[in-house]
């Protein structure tokens, strides 16, 4: 599904503040893997996600998605396969646009945005039905600007937006880092539900070791730009929370 081969990324090459964010990393992620990535700050987790999404391009190595070489493709070209949820709720949605307009764009993630009006009543109904699934009472506020909602509501909607169009891979970069515990739980549960229901391949970065233990079917521990631990299916299930806490103590 996703294949990274000998990927390296160095920031500020040749300068005093040179950082080797990803160091000769090779990783294969299969379809329907739900990979949880943990690691200290600066271990390269976000860089890894950005390399897969195409927000930054690698210095060396190659990246493949579903057999396509995407190494030199930009983020807006990789959106064909990838939906994203960002750490900052503001990044995943457009605050001045209505909920409906945000969903319209999400519904066209893999399509060209054309010169016709797509926010018709049929589409409105479709969005309303989707949002009702969240049970947050937002389905009657479609015309409200996204910016009037709370961070938790926006993150939950961003998750929902990812499945408005054909979606196979979803990248979640600390989606709950900016949320209160209740909203965080709701967002994590929604993510889990969608990933399982839509058979998505997912990569989740988190600093919350409880979440890392509870969610996903694969666990990766990163340090200094490399994968140092990789637990698949049963091996992840057999990990206990205290194992995880030990890695970081």
């Amino acid at each position: 599904m996703i294949k990274l081969e000998n990927v390296s990324k160095t920031f500020n090459r040749g300068k005093a503040n040179e950082v080797k964010a990803i160091d000769d990393l090779s990783l294969t992620i299969s379809a329907q893997d739900y990979v949880v990535v943990v690691g200290a700050n600066g271990s390269g987790k976000s860089t890894l996600l950005n390399l897969i999404a195409g927000s930054i391009l690698p210095g060396n190595g190659s990246i493949e998605i579903e057999g396509h070489d995407v190494t030199r493709l930009h983020d807006y070209q990789r959106s064909r396969w990838i939906a994203r949820v960002f750490q900052n709720p503001l990044s995943g949605t457009a605050p001045d646009l209505s909920i409906l307009d945000n969903f319209r764009l999400a519904a066209l993630r893999t399509h060209t945005k054309r010169l016709n009006i797509g926010t018709n009543s049929a589409f409105k109904q479709q969005v309303q039905d989707k949002i009702a699934l969240l049970g947050m009472g937002l389905e009657n506020k479609l015309m409200q600007p996204m910016g009037t909602l709370s961070g938790g509501q926006r993150q939950a909607l961003t998750l929902l937006m990812s499945i408005m169009d054909e979606c196979r891979i979803v990248l979640l970069d600390e989606p709950t880092a900016a949320l209160d515990p209740r909203s965080a739980r709701l967002v994590m549960e929604t993510a889990d539900k969608l990933i399982i229901e839509f058979n998505l391949t997912a990569i989740l970065i988190t600093h919350n070791l409880k979440d890392a233990h509870m969610y996903g079917n694969r666990l990766i521990h990163m340090a200094e730009g490399q994968v140092i631990k990789n637990y698949l299916r049963e091996k992840k299930l057999n990990l206990t929370q205290s194992d995880l806490f030990e890695w970081f103590s």
Binding site: A53, S55, H74, D75, Y76, Q77, S79, R80, I82, A83, R84, F86, L90, S91, G92, T93, A94, P95, D96, L97, S98, D101, N102, R104, L105, A106, L108, R109, T110, H111, K113, R114, L115, N116, I117, G118, T119, M143, P145
Partner: protein, 289 residues
């Protein structure tokens, strides 16, 4: 009364600039000041085309393309070379001065006995009334077109580009391309104002664009203030209030002149007026502290 009618006509002529600035500044969040250059470019191209007796419809296409090209160049410099938008605009604006002078061949192009878009309508014997109707048709057409555009899927993507770039890139939009298109559109609207003003005043002048960007900015800021007061969120409402801003701005300037302010001070008055509009909300907040 004629005095205020002229101000109204002028305001309608400037609606292209106001809508252009609204698109670059409010929709794309890019401070674009190519405006001075592309407005004069529009005027000069109009002058040259009409004095060479090209038909109006070809002239108007040429004006729109010229303005669009100027904006696209600013956009290319800004996105591809990663140069600050203000600087990119200043560079293109400066370069356009020479371009305009070269196209015109001299600094002033009087239009005598040439075709004019304002003589298409002939309802009354009063030239100003006829002009008013022509402008009304043009402005209604412009607002309808842009309002429609902003409601299409493409238009929503335009609005998102200025609002949340990370989001819209993740949703498959090449934001660099989008910004170039946006700046091209904004500057062809600006050039259209140059086209109208040139025919309204009967000449094109190489320095007609000096300080014109402030008219667009002032109009958009008045429009924004009105949008805030009236809590308008619809696309059409916002566009109409920006137009209202353009007309209010010209009327205020007309009143200033009518009460006897020296016309030499017009640009100073304009600048102070814009400063006042920008700072008024803040000043009034302070008194509530």
């Amino acid at each position: 009364m004629d005095f205020y009618l002229t101000a109204l006509l002028q305001g309608l002529c400037f609606s292209g600039i106001a809508l252009g600035i609204y698109i670059s500044m409010k929709i794309f969040n890019i401070p674009d000041i190519t405006t001075d250059g592309s407005y004069a470019l529009g005027g000069i191209v109009t002058g040259v085309m009409l004095t060479h007796t090209y038909p109006l419809y070809i002239s108007i296409i040429a004006v729109l393309l010229a303005g669009g090209l100027a904006g696209a160049i600013t956009g290319l410099i800004h996105t591809r070379l990663k140069i600050n938008a203000l600087l990119a605009g200043i560079l293109v604006m400066t370069a356009l001065y020479s371009v305009n002078l070269t196209i015109a061949g001299r600094s002033n192009l009087p239009l005598i006995g040439t075709a004019s878009i304002f003589s298409i309508v002939n309802i009354t014997s009063d030239v100003n009334i006829n002009t008013f109707f022509v402008l009304l048709i043009i402005v209604v057409a412009l607002v309808s077109l842009i309002g429609y555009l902003l409601k299409t899927d493409f238009g929503i993507a335009m609005r998102a580009t200025g609002n949340s770039e990370t989001m819209i890139r993740a949703l498959g939009v090449n934001t660099d391309r989008m910004k170039i298109i946006g700046l091209a559109l904004a500057n062809s609207l600006t050039a259209l104002s140059g086209f109208l003003i040139t025919q309204q005043q009967g000449y094109a002048d190489i320095s007609m664009g000096v300080g014109i960007v402030i008219i667009g900015l002032g109009s958009v800021i008045i429009g924004e203030t009105l949008i805030g007061w009236l809590r308008i969120s619809s696309v059409w409402g916002s566009l109409l209030l920006v137009l209202a801003g353009t007309i209010v701005f010209q009327l205020v300037l007309a009143i200033t002149l009518a009460i006897g302010v020296n016309p030499n001070l017009l640009k100073l008055v304009t600048a102070v007026l814009v400063l006042l509009i920008v700072s008024l909300p803040r000043l009034s907040f302070k008194s509530h502290d």
